[in-house]
Symmetry: D2
Subunit: 132 residues, 4 copies
Amino acid sequence: MGLNSYSFRVRYAETDQMGVVYHGNYTQYFEMGRVEWLRAMGITYKSMEDNGIMLPVISLHIDYKKSALYDDLLTVHTHLKSKPMVKIEFDYTLTNESGELLATANIVLAFMDKKTGRPIKCPDYILEKLDT
Amino acid sequence: MGLNSYSFRVRYAETDQMGVVYHGNYTQYFEMGRVEWLRAMGITYKSMEDNGIMLPVISLHIDYKKSALYDDLLTVHTHLKSKPMVKIEFDYTLTNESGELLATANIVLAFMDKKTGRPIKCPDYILEKLDT
Amino acid sequence: MGLNSYSFRVRYAETDQMGVVYHGNYTQYFEMGRVEWLRAMGITYKSMEDNGIMLPVISLHIDYKKSALYDDLLTVHTHLKSKPMVKIEFDYTLTNESGELLATANIVLAFMDKKTGRPIKCPDYILEKLDT
Amino acid sequence: MGLNSYSFRVRYAETDQMGVVYHGNYTQYFEMGRVEWLRAMGITYKSMEDNGIMLPVISLHIDYKKSALYDDLLTVHTHLKSKPMVKIEFDYTLTNESGELLATANIVLAFMDKKTGRPIKCPDYILEKLDT
């Protein structure tokens, strides 16, 4: 379970005129992090949605330490904080190719029934993967 | 029918490290243009979608003449090119507060049935508005 | 000083396939909030940058209460939390046309010298505006 | 010289409430295409900018054939159309994992001196790479 690391390059479109990645775009990096964390367990978020479960973000906290730059090869490290119940919580770190810490983050998402819009428990097939 | 003009400010997030608006973000400006063109006729694109009609873009052409800058007050001028059938075609110009021409564009969208995904004719309630 | 409210419409591009505004795009709304808060005092962020001062975000916290929807007329309420020193801290609420609370946020930015990249104090011309 | 192919996954943030990739986000895909085309020749766009050359887009044409979907593994095929002079022109195709054609595009960029903002010729070190 624990940790997944995923690397990708900063796109030009993600920068702003400060010459660094726009702070709001980090949310996309952390999203890729948890999607690839799931995929590494053999689950796709796409299939979860196709099966009627959505995972809206309910809380987001990012601390920016150092700027991310265009064309940087970044790595997002995704760490499940505790056993998911109706919510799932991740801690993240974002590093560049030199291993410098660019940002830390904590993001909480809620399992939601797509049809009813109501909160539901974490599906068993995810809990089972986490136990192994 | 003819022309609608809509003004708005450039957001910081829309710039890139070239110090100008990222070229891809103009697509959002033209989208606001046609949405406000519709609203000026008393129709919202939102209600169209709620009534089962989607309008995907099928062709996009933009010529960039002069850079748009952060905090600029831009105006998008939206002009319906011809009577819509299964497609609807708009010509656009984008100007800044000094009246300088920043870009021209031509965008074609298709009326589509949301359920079937199939092309349909422009709804009568739009054609009627255009005739008045 | 205190509070500024700024209203704007949700763009189609800001939604995701969950049918609501993508959580990361709220960062642009809060950015518009503080830019308009400054403008209401007679200062533009653009002129600050032109004068060599940048304001990178160093900490971001958003709590999502209720979804923002396409074409919603939203209002971002920007509140300066305390007298700015080397940092400036804002509390935000985001509401829709019905007055429903969609999100709360706290964002901290740092005053930075554009040339040296070093932290600096809040410029006097801002502090003076805050005193009046 | 000719052709470069680059694959990547569609991010959730790139979709809109139509349930497909927002049409404006294709511009980022084509940008990755030409950046990786350059990198395959041993040149980074980042180093070009560091050496005082910018490449703004001056014309963009996209034809949308079929929707790109969340989590799709897409491939952008970048083809240099002719020997670059003061402009450089690329033809693109975008395909999904099944090999279906999603979009074609033609994008023209101009070589520009970063300091003067004036058009310049394609740098010799690029022309030399193209000749080999």
